[in-house]
């Protein structure tokens, strides 16, 4: 990883699980942000979802997704990303990278991209590519990761990096 990447903060979920993980008071001293998540849900099924919200606000997004069926595209509000549920291979965790450009700008909307995969050693699995827009000139000072039901299980990890362009 380039030395322009700086770990801002991280968290590993403890034994009780967590319904949401929030990075607050993000310093405005970087150019971009990268949020790296490894997580699993305690809910039934193979493909579960969670969302990431800048400043606790839903974004608009265009998603390209695939499970075991043909690939599909759709638009939505919010940012639904994949993680495995209890129906997925035991002890597997999904990976999600979310990149946010110019997050500290107070004059422009902020674009973001994400790729999310649901790990599973079986016929059903999931992949999501997402292009999103936070339609606000407000600088992003927090990121809220919320699972739609149940909890992120123990050992789910959340790493927030700041990236400088110089």
């Amino acid at each position: 990883m380039p030395n322009t990447y700086t770990l801002i903060a991280s968290n590993t979920v403890g034994s009780g699980g967590a319904a949401s993980v929030t990075f607050s008071s993000i310093p405005a001293t970087y150019t971009d942000l990268l949020l790296n998540i490894s997580a699993r849900s305690d809910q039934s099924g193979v493909n579960r979802s969670f969302k990431v919200q800048p400043n606790a606000t839903d974004i608009t997004a265009k998603r390209l997704g695939a499970e075991q069926s043909p690939m599909i595209t759709y638009s939505d509000s919010g940012i639904s990303l994949y993680l495995p549920g209890t129906g997925a291979t035991a002890s597997t965790f999904g990976n999600t990278y979310t990149y946010i450009s110019n997050y500290a700008s107070s004059t422009t909307y902020k674009s973001l991209s994400a790729d999310s995969v649901n790990e599973n050693n079986g016929t059903d699995s999931g992949l999501m590519l997402l292009a999103g827009l936070y339609s606000s000139n407000t600088a992003i000072t927090s990121l809220v990761c919320t699972i739609n039901a149940g909890n992120f299980v123990q050992y789910s990890t959340f790493y927030l990096y700041g990236i400088k362009n110089s």
């Binding site: 991280s10 949401s20 607050s24 008071s25 310093p27 043909p70 759709y74 739609n148 039901a149």
Partner: protein, 71 residues
């Protein structure tokens, strides 16, 4: 248990609390929205697969030929 974890990136302080009533309600709404979206996604995918299969059938392809096209 529905715990919310907050990491203050400036101070490094990590705090935990229970979700508020409003947050729990929002979560339930999100769960329903996800279920609805997933049902729509699954139907769209199934419809697309069925439409593709119908085209293959019109073309008179064998099962092996269809499998080769799908790879």
């Amino acid at each position: 248990m529905t715990t919310a974890i907050e990491i203050n990136c400036t101070t490094g302080e990590v705090s935990e609390r229970q979700l508020t009533t409003a947050e729990l309600a929002q979560r339930e709404a999100d769960a329903q929205a996800y279920a609805d979206q997933k049902a729509a996604d699954d139907k769209a995918a199934a419809d697309k697969a069925a439409a593709r299969q119908a085209v293959y059938a019109k073309l008179g392809l064998t099962a092996d030929e269809i499998a080769a096209l799908a790879d």
